[in-house]
Symmetry: C2
Subunit: 251 residues, 2 copies
């Protein structure tokens, strides 16, 4: 399965495509709804581009790495065998009765086109509709990453929800902190050691057991004074709700 058509040109498609080419795979074609985006990624991957799903080239494998809310519509328009998607949220059953061999290859990572990362450290979750195809996907997964696990659609969905909290929501907490500091003319970089220590603790400790801060101490006076100082209603609400949640966990 060395010849691949890549359907998608976003963050996941970009990093997955680059990593596959790096490992000796050939991306025969890149599809994107916007031809310009397909062109940009195709150039990076030494590939060709199209914006027509009915003009896909013959290949050993078709990888659909499009936004979750576009996935089903894209799949409806493709008549191929050996197909997989890369979504954490969408089950294997999205391919049911559409082809013989299908699966999921979910790389558990936060991808930004412009930010480099070490794909070999990205866990990959594999699922397939038959043993033969599962073996193919495990093979590809093992070429890309040191950590490949088989996982059911139901487990993968839970993992994706957990990743939203652990990655997307924690990043938003960093963004709020950044906004507060910018308003006070303080360098965000001052926070990097405390953020690094928070994450380092996770290697050996359960997060709930090493929680610190005013909410952990149930210091309601400080909590009130912080909420008072925040400038917008939404951030006040977030502060209050998360502090309450930390306090509830420590009853």
């Amino acid at each position: 399965m060395k010849n691949i058509v890549l359907i998608g040109s976003g963050n996941v498609a970009t990093h997955l495509g680059l990593s596959l080419v790096n490992k000796g795979y050939t991306i025969k074609q890149v599809w994107s709804k916007q031809l310009k985006n397909a062109d940009i990624l195709a150039e990076k991957l030494n590939s060709t581009s199209t914006d027509e799903l009915k003009n896909l080239k013959n290949a050993d494998l078709y990888i659909v790495a499009v936004k979750d809310d576009a996935l089903e519509a894209v799949i409806q328009q493709i008549k191929v065998n050996n197909i997989l998607h890369t979504s954490g949220s969408i089950g294997l059953e999205v391919f049911d009765n559409k082809c013989k061999n299908y699966g999921v290859l979910y790389p558990l990572q936060t991808f930004n086109k412009e930010v480099s990362l070490d794909f070999s450290k990205t866990p990959i979750c594999i699922e397939a509709n038959n043993e033969m195809f599962e073996k193919e996907l495990l093979n590809i997964g093992n070429n890309l990453s040191k950590k490949v696990v088989k996982m059911s659609s139901e487990q993968r969905k839970q993992l994706h929800i957990a990743a939203v909290f652990a990655c997307n929501f924690s990043n938003h907490m960093f963004a709020i902190a950044d906004k507060i500091l910018t308003q006070s003319n303080i360098d965000f970089k001052l926070l990097l050691p405390i953020i690094n220590q928070t994450v380092k603790k996770l290697n050996k400790n359960k997060a709930s057991e090493v929680q610190t801060g005013p909410a952990k101490r149930k210091d309601k006076k400080i909590i009130e004074s912080h909420i008072k100082k925040l400038s917008d209603k939404e951030t006040k609400e977030i502060y209050k709700l998360i502090s309450d949640s930390i306090m509830n966990k420590n009853d």
Copy 2:
């Protein structure tokens, strides 16, 4: 200022005390409300212990590292010169008219007694009521850490609020993720690469500019399906509020 009395025996007092002793300072005495806690820390610091604020020994410097909600009451009972507190939330003015030289030495870090850390990488924020004492505190700060900054009470309070979001709240996001995974029998360690990448991005990028996930993509179908799958009302509310906040930022 080599002889210090340490008032407090919690997470901050423990790490600060250990770091001071490491740098050649003498902790003459440790006070705690619970004599047992003073004993435990005093043993680690090769010091003596007391639970009586009126029996404090003579020293060059008194460091008050108690919970924020106890700070004022503790200070009321101490009649000494050369005193500082270690709180991010409480202003310098808590010492006003109580002694000649006073200040703040705020180490911006998440401290757990049982988790080791490199104090030299912990930023220290300094404030004092006069230049002479400020110089003393800068001197101590520079002995303990590579990053010492002068900061007003008002800026320090904003920094503390930002740190609550960046550290305490992000850690709670990790705790929620852990709970979701535990319920589904999935190893939390699978999330460490995505968490590490999220934090690594902060070295070169603004958090708001490298946000990823369903809310960033405004994928309301996935957001709804995630909220539906969460087991308790509070976690649903947190998911909804933070997702809304991410979506608002990307209008």
